[in-house]
Symmetry: C3
Subunit: 437 residues, 3 copies
């Protein structure tokens, strides 16, 4: 695997941005929830891109403190006013129905209906996204403007949904590397027509999976496409024995908006993934934010629960809840920027590249500097006030390689880009001045 195949801004990266966007477009119309056919249809499409394994976990399966819920499916839903006009239509927006709503087929007064309606008064043209997974309820979401126009009268509410024993469905793609230790890439697949929250993470994971499949990697990689919370818990419950092999992990979410990149650290706070993300984002020299771990957000909550405490961070752009479009109909295709997708892709790839290439070395000639000149590692005419940066990288690697410092440690101490240090290390190995531990 080599980041040099992917230079920021080059054609392949632009292509990647567009490919990811096209996948988001395909997945956008599907009504997903934490279980059901929307998830199955989503995974079926993803299988066209990577040979995903689809796992079905039966309703009722105990997963730690949780139980896999019944499967929810919805065929149609609408509300008709007294004139028979459809005023809320699931076919037009699958956000219209609160996820996991019970089936309904009855007439109500406006007052009664209103108890089941959700709007966003601050954004009167947007439909909110609401769920009621673990409480038997039904509800409908609409814009504040629509609500304002509703007149008194009798409304017919029809929700053709089913909540039955079935399965929780998730996808997994395992890519075997040179070593058994693995990198976990996790994204959630449980939201209906929401683009940044949900689809952007899926598309980025698919793009990375495709890219890594064509590379030869040191680490093994495991991509999981799971419903949020219950999916992560189910995966962890069913794969507990594998978790000690997870050396690094990233939750991918909200990677397509126009905001800057944010990296939320793992609970450990100083895991190698945290160091790598911090170093790469600093080196990329774009505004970004490093956020300390907190125990809410996405599925890092589960991976970083105290019984696992896995080194899993969360890569995103604007954090959830910090943009008004979050969990509304405004998180739509136009909210996604192709350049942001491409930038997220390159950035994560860079982070993975650091993990792949990070090593500890021993300087084989640790007493004084080795003579670089006789190995053609040094400029001929000395005395100039500036030295080539690569020579600095050589000197840093030689000086710090006492077996204690990894290349990433050296990168952080020196401020040299990791890639330059790795090139220096490769050259020094070739010249027998360095050996890997």
């Amino acid at each position: 695997m080599d980041i040099h195949n992917l230079i920021d801004g080059n054609m392949r990266v632009k292509d990647a941005g567009q490919e990811m966007f096209r996948l988001i477009e395909r997945l956008y119309p599907i009504c997903r929830s934490i279980t059901g056919n929307g998830v199955r249809e989503t995974l079926r499409i993803l299988k066209e891109y990577i040979p995903l394994q689809v796992i079905e976990v039966p309703t009722g399966t105990q997963v730690f403190d949780w139980t896999v819920p019944k499967e929810w499916n919805i065929k149609d839903a609408y509300v008709k006013n007294s004139k028979g006009k459809i005023i809320i239509d699931f076919k037009k927006s699958n956000l219209s129905v609160v996820s996991y709503s019970s089936p309904v087929n009855k007439s109500l007064s406006l007052e009664e209906l209103k108890e089941h309606l959700y709007t966003l008064p601050d954004h009167p043209e947007w439909i909110p996204y609401r769920t009621s997974y673990y409480q038997k309820e039904w509800g409908l979401c609409l814009t504040q403007n629509q609500l304002a126009e509703l007149e008194n009268g009798v409304y017919k509410v029809y929700i053709d949904a089913s909540l039955e024993n079935g399965y929780l469905t998730y996808g997994e793609y395992y890519l075997s590397g040179k070593i058994e230790e693995e990198v976990l890439i996790s994204c959630h697949i449980c939201h209906p027509s929401l683009c940044n929250d949900n689809l952007s993470g899926i598309a980025l994971a698919i793009q990375l999976a495709k890219e890594l499949t064509s590379e030869s990697t040191r680490y093994s990689y495991r991509f999981v496409f799971i419903p949020g919370t219950i999916g992560a818990i189910t995966w962890l419950a069913m794969n507990e024995q594998k978790t000690p092999l997870i050396k690094h992990g990233l939750v991918l979410t909200g990677v397509g908006d126009s905001g800057n990149i944010s990296y939320k650290k793992s609970r450990r706070g100083n895991a190698e993934i945290d160091q790598a993300a911090g170093h790469v984002l600093k080196q990329l020299n774009k505004p970004h934010k490093i956020i300390d771990f907190f125990p809410y957000g996405y599925d890092e909550r589960q991976y970083c629960s105290p019984g696992f405490n896995l080194p899993v961070g969360c890569f995103m752009r604007t954090p959830h809840g910090h943009y008004p479009e979050y969990h509304t109909s405004a998180d739509n295709l136009s909210f996604i920027k192709i350049e942001s997708m491409a930038d997220s892709f390159v950035s994560v790839f860079n982070i993975l590249d650091v993990l792949e290439k990070n090593r500890k070395y021993i300087n084989t000639k640790p007493k004084c500097e080795p003579q670089l000149g006789k190995r053609r590692l040094y400029e001929g005419i000395g005395g100039q006030s500036t030295q080539a940066v690569d020579q600095l990288a050589l000197l840093w690697v030689l000086n710090m390689s006492d077996g204690e410092n990894s290349l990433l440690d050296i990168a952080i101490r020196s401020g040299c880009p990791f890639s330059k240090l790795r090139s220096a290390a490769d050259l020094l190995i070739e010249k027998k001045l360095l050996t890997e531990i």
Copy 2:
């Protein structure tokens, strides 16, 4: 014990402020020194408030490197000018006589007299406070304006003081809690008519003692009312075997002026009392100062001497020497603000409340999050962008309770107020999701 009984700004706190002020008013006229009847009279008054034990340590008792000094008492003192007019009068201000002055009854020229006079040229209307405990001397303090008016002539100086074998007197109040480990509250009682330096600390200690007496506390509490330096040394020498039980301690001094709260850390710098004070003062969200330990100031000097190194900090408002009224007649009743007294009381009570309630817990379901919803710990309709703060507290406590982090550690890491975390922990214990270590 519960801080919720005492909400800042409520009637009980205002009452407390006034009670403390009234006590200061009662104690103000008494001429105290490091020994003598002024201290006895002070402790006698304090006994009206709490069942104080009064200890008398004989002159000559060896206390570590020190010896309990002779007892000093003063009945009267004045200076008369050649016309027989009293120009310095102990009855008008007990600051007029240097504490521990030898008895005098003689006539002197103005020039000779001046060698024994102390003034504050920068504050010509204030009388300074001076002592000469360990050096046989006599002296008189007056305002610079008074000094300027003195005319040549013969002055009669009369100091009716005695320095004889007697006792060093101090008070102690021990409040037994559920456990033997204790919190030490220490204040000095050796200054004459000075309000902020001396009386404010006494009044706050009394108020805390009264409040805690009516509560059921986990820790035992020991209040010591001692002469500065020699009193703390005497107490430590006589109670050395008890000091390992002191888990936390506070020296209270200068808590009534209008300045912001300052907390001076213990020598350890990261003791639980230091963390608790830092967290509480931050949460109270008023300007305040955290000061690193330094080996002078009040009796924390003794408690934090290297042979003890007790976790004792110093709670004050404006630090001594940082306000011009310090050790002058201007540190009088009008220098004390009732609101400052009340605010100091609530703040210290908050700090003690944190110490009382701080615990380490173990999450009983550490693998993934437990399902809060089925325990009615979670909002019904999900998907909203904001979560109730208490739920964050639940999540923080669950995530961090791996047996390593105390609730106070979690408060500091999360920025959640300790009290919210403690409420969350109580609820989680009730739901069997947490056990105390």
Copy 3:
């Protein structure tokens, strides 16, 4: 040894500044390189000041990864234009010839000549300094203005240099102290007529050596006057068994320019020399810079290579490469400021003084403060708001002397000047309140 002999700004310090400048003036005309008679002549002059031992290491000697090179000597060099006029003259500036140039005696066209000419286009009146130690080359340096005037034609180039088996020459001065552990002072002696880079370090080392010779020191001191890089490597290779005795070290370079002092930390970053330099420079209360270690610069590169990792920092003023005169003819006598030399001398002497006097102590009366008053260590009339600073020093030393903290640790924690703490410690030892570990 005592810094009090040398008060900043006093006559002896001014004299020292002038003495150092006169030595620089004497050494300035000599054409030095990493080997050869210029170095020998330099060391011969230095022997007039201190009884230097001169070591000659034969060409071909293996020193770690390096080989002692052939000895280079130059007698004369010039370039004549087609009219026979000398346009580049070694006699006028020994920077004119690239160091280690091969001998040449031939005629070239202007175009051919230009391939061997070096100038500084940004500083058209300065001659650059260039070397080619390990590559067989020849070259000439001149000003950009001179170059611009060269007309087409045939030029005669004459370099009367020799590169033959010989020796690498360096000087060493060992000053035996009370203990075998030593302080290494290192400076380079391989540059031709350059003042700040090279001569200022030599002059400062000589001045320190003279000063320390007249003192009685605790540590032994080793001064090495060596060619840069190859000299340090040679010294380390030949003295490897002595290096465990090096407890502290300083590379001195560029100590005469008008810039502020910079101290570059050792690779360890928290060595006692790093702490001492940081404390002294802070206390001297002049603008200065503390720089983290990086593995290029001067001979600290070798001393701090991972196989040695000696606690050696680098003391300089403006770091090399940060002033345009660096490695040019403008680094001449007028670039050196006598006051800067004197200031560097006093500052380094202060740092050495701290190392000399740093100790760990045990408070013999660690329980409470000992009574300072009865030992006449305390002011008589108490109650004043300010205390003498020396008393603070006494209290700091007593409080922190638990066997863990050195006097330098206490200086850093307290902000008290080290010298005041040391005076306090001496007094406390005299009073039997302190014992040295």
